[in-house]
Symmetry: C2
Subunit: 465 residues, 2 copies
C-alpha cells in the first residue's frame, strides 16, 4: 500500500488529507450498533478524493490499483453497518461531485450516483411530476448510489417491493478496479452483481431507475387501542389494491410515547401508532377503510394540520429513523431487522412478542410487498444489555421461524442471508482481482471457509490505537 505515490498521482484532483475531515468521511452510522461501535470506532482512511466525472473515477482506480491502495466508496455515509468504512484505511472515493440528473423520461430517470435522493425527486417532479418508486428514510441526506449499493428498500416498498425485485433498478454503469479499469453496463440478471454489494466489486457511475407519478402524499398518524389491531390494520391496508400508498408503519407502545416527542402529547398511554402515506385521490377509499375499524383514530394528517408543533415528514419516523429517534432519547436502544414472511406474518409477530419480557424487544413493522403478498419487515427496537443476550435474541427469532438480517455485523453475508452471493463473488474475481475495493466486507473473498458460528473478524483490520 503506497499511499504517498497514490496521492501524488491524484494530486490534480479534489483531494482531502486533513485528518479530522478524513476521519469524519470514514465513518457512517455504524454506531447504531453497540457491537460495531466497539469494533470500528477507530477506523479511518488515509485520504479522500472526490472525482468530478467518470474519467476521474477511472484515474483514481487506476492509480490506487497501481499502488495497492484500497478504495472505499462513499455516498453520504448514512449506512448503518460500517458499510462505507475503510477497514484497512487507504482511499475514500467520495461521490459528492457526481450528482447530476442526466435525463428524465416517462417512467424512468438516468442519474449520477452522488445525487441526493431528495434532489433526484425534486428534479423528476419539476420535470414531469414523477418521483422514484422507493427511497430510504434518509431521503434528505443519502445518495441514490449509496441507496443502491448499500440499501434494500424503504418508503414505497409497501407498493413496489424491494430494490432487489425485478424492475426496481433498470441499469447500472460500473467501473472495475483493474490495471486498466473497464466500464460496464449492467441490466437484468447482471444488476445483482453490484447492487447491495457495498461497492466491493465495482464503482457505480450511472444509474437508471424506474419512476412513479409524484403525488402530494397525505401523511397520517393513526392510533389503535391494541397492538393486534394496529398490525391487522397495516396488513389489511397493504392488501387493498385500489388504495395507493407509500408507507405503512406500525409502532408498538410505548415507542411513540417514549421517543416521538411531538406525537406523544396526542396519544394515550398504551396506544399503538401507525404512520401512513396515502395518495390524495385514495383518501376517500382510505377513510372508508378506516371507518370500518372503530378502534382506529386519525390523530394527524398533513392535509388538515392542527398540531401546535408539526411533526415533520412521517417517513422520518419509520424505517431506520425509528431507531435513530429512540437512540437520541435512550442510548441503550439498538435494533434488529426481522423478516416476518407471509402469509403467517401476523402470527409470527405475536409469537415473537410473547417470547420476550416487556420492554426488551419493541415491535416496529414496515409493510412490504414480497412475492405477490404483503408481509412485514421488522426493525424491532431492542434494549441492549450484552452481546451475548443480543445473540440470544437473534436466536429466539430464528427459532420462531423469522429470518434475521443482523445489523450488528459489517460483512455482506452476516448482514444478509448468511450465505455467499455467488454472483457478487464471481464478479469481484473479475472486477477487483487485487481485492482492493472496500476490503473486509465480503467474507467469501477473504475467508471462504468461515462457518458463521461466531462473529467474523477481519484479520487485516486497522488496529485501534
Amino acid at each position: 500500500m503506497n499511499i504517498a505515490a497514490a496521492k501524488a498521482a491524484l494530486s490534480h484532483l479534489e483531494l482531502d488529507e486533513n485528518p479530522v475531515s478524513v476521519r469524519a468521511k470514514s465513518r457512517d452510522f455504524f454506531w447504531y450498533s453497540p457491537v460495531l461501535k466497539a469494533r470500528l470506532d477507530h477506523i479511518t482512511a488515509d485520504f479522500v478524493v472526490a472525482p468530478r466525472n467518470e474519467a476521474e473515477v477511472i484515474e483514481v482506480l487506476r492509480a490506487c490499483y497501481a499502488h495497492d491502495v484500497p478504495v472505499t466508496t462513499r455516498g453520504a455515509g448514512t449506512g448503518n453497518y460500517g458499510q462505507a468504512m475503510p477497514l484497512v484505511g487507504g482511499c475514500i472515493l467520495h461521490m459528492k461531485n457526481m450528482a447530476a440528473v442526466v435525463g428524465v423520461h416517462p417512467g424512468r430517470v438516468i442519474v449520477q450516483p452522488g445525487c441526493l435522493l431528495k434532489d433526484l425527486d425534486a428534479a423528476c417532479k419539476a420535470h414531469s411530476g414523477q418521483e422514484i418508486r422507493m427511497f430510504s428514510s434518509t431521503w434528505a441526506t443519502a445518495t441514490i448510489g449509496g441507496f443502491i449499493a448499500g440499501g434494500s428498500g424503504g418508503v414505497g416498498s409497501c407498493t413496489w417491493g424491494a430494490l432487489r425485485d425485478l424492475g426496481n433498478i433498470i441499469r447500472l454503469r460500473v467501473v472495475t478496479m483493474e490495471a486498466e479499469p473497464r466500464v460496464l453496463e449492467f441490466t437484468g440478471e447482471e444488476l445483482h452483481r453490484v447492487s447491495h454489494a457495498y461497492g466491493t466489486n465495482g464503482i457505480i457511475t450511472e444509474i437508471e431507475m424506474p419512476l412513479a407519478p409524484a403525488y402530494d402524499w397525505v401523511e397520517l398518524f393513526v392510533t389503535t387501542q391494541t397492538f393486534r389491531e394496529a398490525a391487522q390494520f397495516a396488513a389489511d391496508l397493504g392488501n387493498e389494491p385500489g388504495i395507493l400508498k407509500k408507507l405503512i408503519t406500525v409502532f408498538e407502545a410505548p415507542i411513540a410515547q417514549d421517543y416521538f416527542q411531538r406525537v406523544a402529547p396526542y396519544m394515550q398511554p398504551g396506544q399503538h401508532l401507525l404512520a401512513l402515506m396515502i395518495a390524495p385521490h385514495a383518501m376517500d377509499g382510505f377513510l372508508t377503510f378506516t371507518a370500518r375499524r372503530p378502534d382506529a383514530r386519525i390523530i394527524w394528517r398533513t392535509d388538515w394540520p392542527d398540531w401546535q408543533r408539526e411533526p415533520g415528514p412521517v417517513f422520518e419516523y419509520g424505517w431506520n429513523h425509528t431507531t435513530l429517534r429512540a437512540l437520541k432519547v435512550d442510548a441503550q436502544i439498538t435494533y434488529l431487522q426481522v423478516r416476518y414472511a407471509a402469509p403467517d406474518h401476523l402470527a409470527r409477530v405475536e409469537a415473537v412478542r410473547a417470547a420476550f419480557p416487556p420492554g426488551e424487544v419493541m415491535q416496529h413493522l414496515e409493510v412490504m410487498q414480497e412475492g405477490g403478498q404483503t408481509m412485514f419487515a421488522g426493525l424491532s427496537l431492542v434494549r441492549f444489555t450484552t452481546e451475548a443476550r443480543l445473540d440470544e435474541i437473534v436466536k429466539i427469532h430464528e427459532e420462531l421461524g423469522c429470518m434475521i438480517f443482523n445489523p450488528h455485523r459489517y460483512t455482506l453475508e452476516e448482514g444478509g442471508r448468511q450465505t455467499v452471493d455467488d454472483r457478487q463473488l464471481a464478479f469481484k474475481r473479475e472486477a477487483d482481482p487485487k481485492g482492493l475495493l472496500n476490503p473486509g466486507k465480503m467474507i467469501a473473498w477473504d475467508d471462504p471457509d468461515f462457518d458463521f458460528a461466531g462473529v467474523y473478524a477481519y484479520a487485516r483490520m486497522q488496529v485501534a490505537g
Copy 2:
C-alpha cells in the same frame, strides 16, 4: 304505463320512436348466451330519449314516474347479460349526449357517464399523461357509466383489483326516480349502492375516478409448450411487484390456434398463449423474468413489430373479447365466469381441467389482484350442447370450490353471488319506490322468496310474439 303521455311530456327532448332503431337500442350482447338468446330476443322498448344534461335526466325520470313508465338506462349496450334490456318495454334512457370530461386533476378525473372509455383515456392522456386504472376490453365502444353500472373490472385489474375495491371509484352523482327526483352524491361505503346495480336504483350522472400514469404499454404475445407453464408464468408475473403491468391473460390451446386468425400462423399446434401489457420501463425486468423460463417464447411485441398483419390491441383478445372471437368462428361456443381464489388458484384450474372431456371447457384466465394476492378470473370458453349440461358444468365447478358468476342469467343476483345485495335493495326502496328502474333485474325486489334452485323468470317480462 302510459307511454303516450310520457312521450308527450318529453317531446321537446331528443326522442327516438322508430321501431327499428328503438329495437336496436334495446339490445345488448345478451346473445353471447344461448340461454339468454332464447329468452330475450324479442325484447324491445317503446321509445328512446337521450338527455343532454342532468336537468333533462330529471325531467325524463319525473315524467316517467308520473306516467308509470319503466326506464332502462343505456350506455353503449355492450353488456353481456341483457343488463341494458328493457324487459317490460317503456323508455330507454340513452346517455350518449352526456359524454363530457368535466375536469382532469392529478390522480383523478370527473366525467359524465356517456363518455366512451377510449375518449376518456384520450382526454386524460392529452391533459396530463394520465389514464384510467382499468377498463373493460370494450374500451373502444363502451361508456364509463356502463362500465361502472354493469362491469366489474378488466384491463388493469392485474395491478389495481376490481371496480368494487376501495379506492377504484371515488364519487358517483346519482338521480333518483321519484315524484320529484333527488340528486345525491355518493362516496365511500355508499358507492356500492349503485355501482354494478345495472341502473336499477338510480341514474349515474357524474363520475369521479382515480387515474394512473399513461404509459406506452408494450403489448406482447408469449407462447409456452405446456398449459401449466403458461398459468405459472401468469401467476408469477402477477407476483412481481417491480414489473408494472396492465394485462396478464392465459389462453389454453387450441383457443389461439382456432379463434385468433392473425396469431395462429405464429404458433405450433398444442402451444398455449399469453397476452400481456407491460410498461416500457418495466421491459428490462420483464425480459429478465422471461429469460428464466426457457419454455416461454415472445412471438409478438408492439415495440418490435414483425408480423405481416398486425394483430391489433392485445387486450382485444382478452377479457370478454376472447368469447367474441370464438363465437365469430364457432357459434356453438359460449362461456362461464369462474373465480379461482388464491392461494390455490393454480391447483384449482388444474382440477377443473381434469374434470371435463377435451374441448368442452377451454381455459381462459385473467390475472387479478384480490385481497393482496394475485388470483385468476376465468372466462372459460364452453362448447354448448344443452342448458342442462351447462348447468351441470356450473355445478362441477362449484363442487371443485370455484365460484361461478353465471353469465347466462339476466338478474343481478344470479349473475353475482346468488344473494341479495342489501345495500342495493335498501337504496332501491328509497330511490325507486315504484320499481320502474330497469325492471326484472333485481330478484330481491320482485320475488324476495326466490330460492335460486332453478332459473329465475321475471313474471312481467314482455311476451314474445
